[in-house]
């Protein structure tokens, strides 16, 4: 998946576990885990919520990298 993220890093800065972060952004613990592993790309709404909670921009959290041919 070409979308990379630094969610785990920002979550560590906040000092919360996945369950607590999920509660703050209105998602489940499993979804936070999927996003951190790169197995799920959040919607724009969820990405904005995550950025708001982590007190950063969406671009700080997520980067889009095309696979090189």
């Amino acid at each position: 998946m070409p979308l990379r993220n630094r969610l785990k890093e920002y979550r560590a800065r906040l000092g919360v576990n996945q369950q607590e972060l999920g509660r703050r952004i209105g998602a489940s613990r499993q979804t936070v885990s999927l996003i951190e592993r790169g197995d799920y790309s959040p919607s724009v709404t969820l990405a904005l919520k995550i950025a708001q909670v982590c007190q950063c921009t969406v671009e700080d959290l997520f980067t889009y990298e095309e696979d090189e041919a």
């Binding site: 576990n17 996945q18 369950q19 607590e20 509660r23 209105g26 998602a27 489940s28 613990r29 499993q30 979804t31 885990s33 999927l34 996003i35 799920y40 959040p42 919607s43 969820l46």
Partner: protein, 273 residues
């Protein structure tokens, strides 16, 4: 920019040989089955049916009892393990979370399998009533005993299924407080899905589509078996009609949703239910 007709023709040309091969193979299998069925004389089939009327109900009751015991043991063990791990869970260990989820999913799968086995076996067990009517069984009492045992198994199986489903759902809700719904609610599926977030709903979408594909394939195979059964006289036209009714229901449900106009909550499964 629209793709040219040439692109479509190339894609068709690439896929056509395999598709044609499958059609020919299916036709040949049908011919073989037809000749094989014809080779088995009508008398042989009648004798086979008579023998099945004897052992099928007893086998069904036995299989059901074994399945019930196995699922009860497995589900009990799985649930207790999940409960123990959940008590040890501090919320930091991702692998532990996944292990607990897997255990609970296995419990739910086992209860679904038990339901299918029980309903199938109960259906087979009702053959004893036909035997009594046709006076083929040694006596009424053995037939009634088989039927009574089958009824008790059905009741116990439903109780076990609901009990373990309730436990698994409640433990999941305990670990995920945002989840809503009780297994005793008639619209539990809808309430539960509405409380899921976007990733979980996307997973439900995928599971639903996989179910649709499997059901479509299963219906086509069931239609084939029912049609051959109808042709050779070991089942009536009702079986063909039932299969087609189920097939139609899955197709209509799928295409109705596919044509459904997205609401303001586009992408949310709750807007489609």
């Amino acid at each position: 920019m629209k793709r040219s007709d040439q692109t479509f023709t190339q894609a068709d040309r690439k896929a056509k040989p395999k598709f044609t091969g499958i059609l020919i193979a299916a036709g040949l299998i049908g011919v073989v089955l037809g000749f094989a069925g014809n080779w088995l004389s009508v008398q042989d089939l009648d004798q086979l049916a008579q023998a099945a009327n004897w052992w099928a109900p007893v086998a069904a009751v036995t299989i059901n009892a074994i399945a019930l015991a196995a699922v009860w043991t497995l589900c009990g063990r799985g649930y207790r393990q999940a409960q123990t791990l959940s008590q040890q869970d501090s919320g930091e260990d991702e692998h532990l979370e996944e292990t607990i989820d897997k255990l609970l999913n296995r419990v739910l799968m086992a209860t679904a399998a038990l339901n299918l086995i029980t309903f199938s076996c109960f259906g087979l067990a009702t053959l004893v009533l036909r035997i009594v009517r046709e006076d083929a069984w040694p006596g009424v009492i053995p037939a009634l005993v088989v039927m009574l045992v089958s009824l008790v198994e059905l009741a116990v199986s439903l109780k076990v299924t609901v009990s373990f489903q309730r436990k698994a759902v409640n433990l999941t809700r305990q670990r995920n407080p945002e989840k809503e719904g009780s297994v005793y609610q008639l619209d539990f599926n809808k309430v539960w899905v509405n409380s899921c977030d976007e990733a979980e709903q996307a997973q439900i979408y995928r599971a639903g589509f996989a179910g649709y594909k499997a059901a479509s394939f299963a219906c086509s195979m069931a239609w084939l078996v029912a049609t051959l059964g109808c042709l050779f006289g070991f089942c009536g036209p009702l079986s063909v009609l039932l299969v087609c009714a189920i097939w139609a229901a899955t197709q209509i449900a799928y295409f109705r949703q596919a044509m459904n106009k997205p609401s303001a909550q586009a992408g949310s499964i709750s807007s489609l239910i």
